[in-house]
Symmetry: C2
Subunit: 332 residues, 2 copies
């Protein structure tokens, strides 16, 4: 299986993408990877890989692309002028069938716009969505969508999000009967906007989805649901706020420990565990986010992901390929 | 200064409200408190107060009200049938001027509906909002509003929320020039719904508010703004999700420490600090939430607040009285 990678995106650029790609190859012997980006920079990063990854790196292929889409570029600009960038060439490689999936840590809006343009959408899906797996209390995970692709949505879109989240949890995670919930400001039937109430009514009529009704924001983390559906404005705000809170909490725990002499030792003991926790709880950095509803598999790695984070995004893409996700979305 | 308390609301009922009221009296010698609720239950809770609070408890007055508004009651039901409940009588006491402010841990929707009905709204404010102070990275705080009173809002409401948040930060917290931001899915001007873009345009025209533009969800916790404004659906989802995440994080940190023998000691050392952190990071439980734009001061304590949490809500109400908040909202 070949994965195409936009090696120039993200805050760390090739340092994270080349390292992450090599790790993914090392962990999965059935993978091949083609990197799109500035050849000289990619080759120098490949040369700097640790010896332990050298064998895996022989399965890295480099396709030279000089132009890079800046993180600040608007989706509309990307559509008009982004044709020969590393991101667009990666997507074209997926569209041609030469790669089974694509991964980028670049600008999300541009990636979504170019992916729709290049790959199209799955039959029956009006608008693609962005989703990621959030860690839950019971060591499980919950797919939250949409995360920002659609800021103004009607009930029909929310039902589509529910179908896509269900397919993801069912086919990629192997859940028999994923519990699908609608995010609301209360769990009583009288709460919420007209859009949410109408989506609730339509979801109750579906027989092929295990719809469990409303959850409030804490239901995302409580393990009460496997899929939580909301508009992209709310989903984006919740995800970004969670990132901010996780960062603050870890810093506060650290500071609390270090405030007292006796706690300094605790801080030293605790620091590695806390850092690991922060990474795990930063779901997009950890898991990558899937562009759902695109006719092809595209995973967005977090802009600030390091090599470990980028590796997870590549592994996520490979998993979606093996589970044949786009076809599952179409028939679900 | 007299504060009126609905002593029957909240998950813990009189156990939390009577204890919290006594603590508030003990901490602030200029306060008097009148408790509305079932006399026999309130008196038995008062009799069970620790000796250290006995002197303060002599400033607790009990007004017998037999009926209690159930947490499950809808606002519309509360308006029609809630007239002789502990919540309604507490609000009537504020409306009559016999108390300077009111506090309840009961149903938020019913409290907002009854408060609007009984006290009316401040001149120039179309719809009241709910706000609380969220702790930030730099040991500061950020007022987030609306938290659920208004799920469908236009740009005009968002501008009103900005004015109310500004008045709160300026007059209650004493900030000279609070930084007011609008929550969005990106910080670029092209991002967001038409409502958010129009609110942004109008806020830029205001000369008396220090409007700093868009923030994303992580901006609530980063210390970048003193006031963050959004619709009630998003604000509620962000707040509830933050509560859920904080709970999960603290549990995970604890579990991480306890997973190894050497860490058990760490867990024992860390547990008190972690519990305190969890409480501080649960902003509504800690601070209470203010009903802003009501012609009178009403503070909502968290439904699951204990005596310490309820004490903070009472102290918050007293602070808003001293800073003359409703009049500030009207002239701001």
């Amino acid at each position: 299986m070949r994965i195409a990678i936009d090696a120039m995106g993200g805050d760390l650029g090739p340092r994270a993408t080349v390292g992450g790609a090599a790790r993914a190859l090392s962990a999965d012997s059935r993978l091949d990877i083609v990197l799109f980006g500035q050849q000289s920079r990619l080759n120098s990063e490949i040369a700097r890989l640790p010896r332990s990854l050298a064998a895996a790196a022989s399965r890295l292929q480099v396709e030279n692309v000089d132009a890079v889409l800046a993180d600040s570029q608007q989706p509309a600009w990307a559509l008009r002028h982004g044709g020969d960038t590393s991101m667009a060439r990666m997507l074209a490689c997926v569209a041609s069938g030469k790669a089974a999936a694509g991964v980028s840590a670049g600008n999300t809006g541009a990636l979504m716009a170019l992916a729709r343009h290049t790959l199209g959408t799955v039959a029956g899906i009006t608008r693609p969505a962005i989703s990621t797996a959030i860690p839950t209390c019971n060591e499980g995970r919950c797919y939250l969508l949409d995360l920002g692709a659609n800021v103004d949505v009607g009930p029909g879109r929310l039902v589509e999000f529910a179908r896509m989240g269900d397919a993801m949890a069912r086919h990629v995670d192997g859940l028999q009967r994923p519990r699908v919930a609608l995010l609301n400001v209360g769990v009583e039937g009288t709460k919420g906007s007209p859009t949410v109430k109408e989506a609730d009514r339509r979801l109750r009529e579906l027989v092929d989805i295990h719809y469990i009704g409303y959850v409030e924001g804490d239901g995302i983390f409580s393990g009460a649901a496997d899929v939580v559906v909301c508009d992209g404005f709310t989903g984006n705000a919740v995800l970004k706020a969670s990132e901010g809170l996780a960062k603050m909490l870890v810093a506060r725990v650290q500071a609390t420990f270090e405030a007292h002499w006796s706690s300094r030792l605790v801080g030293l003991l605790a620091r590695p565990a806390l850092m690991r926790l922060r990474d795990e709880l930063d779901p997009v950095r950890y898991n990558g986010a899937s562009l759902l509803g695109i006719r092809g598999i595209v995973v967005k790695s977090h802009g600030s992901a390091d090599a470990a984070g980028f590796h997870y995004a590549v592994a996520r893409a490979a998993q979606e390929v093996r589970r044949d996700l786009p076809r599952r979305l179409a028939v679900s």
